[in-house]
């Protein structure tokens, strides 16, 4: 029987109190954003935020617990914007959103940073000490190499495929330092919004496989902002080294996604983006469960391991009350299905 797992890829909104405290501690300008060497007061504030995120997820009853990525000022570009080899440029639009991040300009060989491993270790400690966390395990999150390369500016490597490969090696090095984790989410929205040119799919999937190979955990390659193109989908199933592809069932045409799975098969597990990470309307658990059933009815399920129940995007777009309700909806939907 297919196992249903309620999880999120993280990137939660900061609690409102922390929004204020951190703006006071850090400031509002470009130069005030996180660089990885923050002061003790800022570290302490983020420690509190992380603990709150873990509590929120345990309260909701999620099966996988994310660190929440409260520190990621630049959203999924974060692992680069705190790297020594990167200079941050101007503020640029984050996909098709009214959100902006600092353009990471890669100016040197990307070396190991350990920034994400550090915050994950703190989350692992919180989880180990938490009451009622016996059934929950840690989920790590990183940008996928294709999207991270897409969001960055290369001023050093000079060749697109080489740049993707270098970013993949960099991310693999970060993963190698992670504490034990059950799942690794690699966020790859650019595969939908700015897919590789025909013929270049393999350099993208090779890059993803490089990162996936760096962990023994289950790897979910989470795509969003709509459906994948069919050819790219087929490449991803076969070549990306993913245990699960993540598919957006909220934005764009979900029938295209169903068609892809029917036509080209799927990874052994699938992650479904079921609740809208960009709308305050909270789906009730039954609606989410129906979406899972609607999807599963249309695809051959033999040998299918797991369905991850997730939001379709990160959750930082939402006000904090609604983000928490979305967590609750996902966990409750997994219960309904069991």
């Amino acid at each position: 029987m297919t196992e249903r797992v309620a999880a999120t890829p993280g990137l939660y909104p900061l609690p409102d109190r922390a929004k204020e405290t951190l703006s006071d501690l850090k400031g509002h300008q470009k130069g005030d954003l996180l660089s990885g060497d923050e002061s003790e007061a800022i570290v302490a504030e983020y420690d509190e935020v992380r603990a709150e995120y873990v509590d929120h997820q345990l309260d909701a009853g999620l099966d996988l617990i994310s660190e929440g990525q409260g520190r990621w000022d630049d959203m999924i570009a974060h692992p680069l914007t705190v790297s020594d080899a990167v200079e941050t440029g101007g503020i640029v639009r984050y996909y098709d959103n009214n959100n902006f991040y600092r353009d990471p300009r890669v100016a040197d060989d990307l070396g190991f940073s350990g920034d994400v491993a550090g915050e994950l270790s703190d989350a692992a400690d919180l989880l180990a000490d938490a009451d009622g966390a016996a059934d929950a395990s840690l989920a790590a999150t990183l940008p996928g190499p294709y999207s991270l390369a897409d969001l960055a500016t290369d001023e050093h490597y000079g060749d697109e495929a080489e740049f993707q490969a270098a970013i993949a090696e960099f991310l693999a090095g970060e993963v190698a330092a992670f504490p034990a984790h059950e799942t690794l989410f690699l966020l790859e929205p650019s595969l939908v919004t700015n897919p590789p040119a025909e013929g270049d799919e393999s350099s993208a999937t090779d890059a993803i496989a490089t990162v996936a190979d760096a962990t023994d955990a289950d790897v979910v390659v989470q795509t969003f902002y709509g459906a994948l193109g069919e050819k790219l989908y087929a490449h991803l199933v076969d070549e990306a080294g993913a245990d699960a592809l993540g598919l957006d069932l909220v934005a764009g045409d979900r029938d295209d996604t169903v068609y892809n799975v029917q036509e080209f098969g799927s990874t052994d597990s699938l992650s479904l983006g079921l609740v809208d990470g960009q709308n305050t309307l909270v789906e009730d658990a039954e609606t989410v469960a129906e979406r899972v059933e609607w999807f599963e009815e249309q695809i051959p399920l033999e040998g299918f391991d797991r369905t991850y129940l997730t939001p379709n995007t990160e959750l930082f777009y939402l006000p904090t009350n609604k983000y928490r309700e979305k967590l609750n909806a996902l966990a409750a939907a997994a219960e309904v299905l069991d």
Partner: protein, 357 residues
Amino acid sequence: MVRNPEANRDQFRPHDHPNDAFLLTTVVGSYPKPKWLNRADELVDDPDSKFDASDLEEAHDDACRLITHEHERAGLDTVVDGEMRRNEMVEFFADRIDGYEFNGPVKVWGHNYFDKPSVVEEVAYDEPWLVDEFEFTSNVAERPVKVPVTGPYTLGFWAFNEAYPSTEELVYDLADLVNEEVEKLVEAGARYIQIDEPALATTPEDHAIVGEALERIAAGIPEEVRIGLHVCYGDYSRIYPEINDYPIDEFDVELCNGDFEQIPTFTDPEFEPDLALGVVDAHTAEVESVAEIKENIRQGLRVVPPEKLTISPDCGLKLLPRDVAYGKTENMVTAVREVEAEIDSGEIDLDNPLADD
């Protein structure tokens, strides 16, 4: 189809205007708030303070009077109260329209947040949004008052849509409400309305939705009322020449920020509404010299003749230090009056406006 700007422009020409040529001077709307007003806005939320809502209203009145007169002192032909009563361009209206609710701030970038509202049921008109504000300002102003209104496309797309099957349908309902508000403003005597649609710049492929919304806004509004549309920070090749079909009198655009590189976009085919051209940058803290602004004004003459040219800053000036905002406005008006005199004397060749005489 473009409205008839010729039918309403002359009412803004001051009786003592010094030149034959008349380039209408105006502002986009927002202006730096005096520090004390920001303090007052905070004080009213402080439970330990005796400062209450009626004190805040008095402070808002004082600030509106002050900024309206500051605009007049700078020599503007049409003035705004600097939007002293407004907190944010979507929040202010969402607070007044039935159907919106607020859940808390969301991130824009870094530690900059916006209280993005949610539309939770069909939007409806309750009390007038801006009529009191307009009546107050027009009573203290000696010059005609322009009223900026956030447009329905921006009010729809910069909110969470929980209630409508598509945000496009929400936008059309909002457009009907804006039309109702504009009618009330016109009844109260307003003759210059500006619809602000910054969201269009981020999704130019939706220009037809904005066009349909403008049709609804302009329906039944008499031609002596001037309706402008303000858009900023976009790639205008993606909405031009479509804006020639919009039912507006004037298109107000920020081009100083991009060093007027997009001017040629508007020259072919012929530009139909009046052009309101931004000639000072709203995001640099240096006051441009009169000479530099005069060069910028000439860029507008490449697109339209003087009788169709309005001059304004690129965008609202609220993020600048107040003395810089004033300096830019004052220099802008001085530059306009000098350019008008040079047009009168033939020093500026209207067929080749960038050429030195």
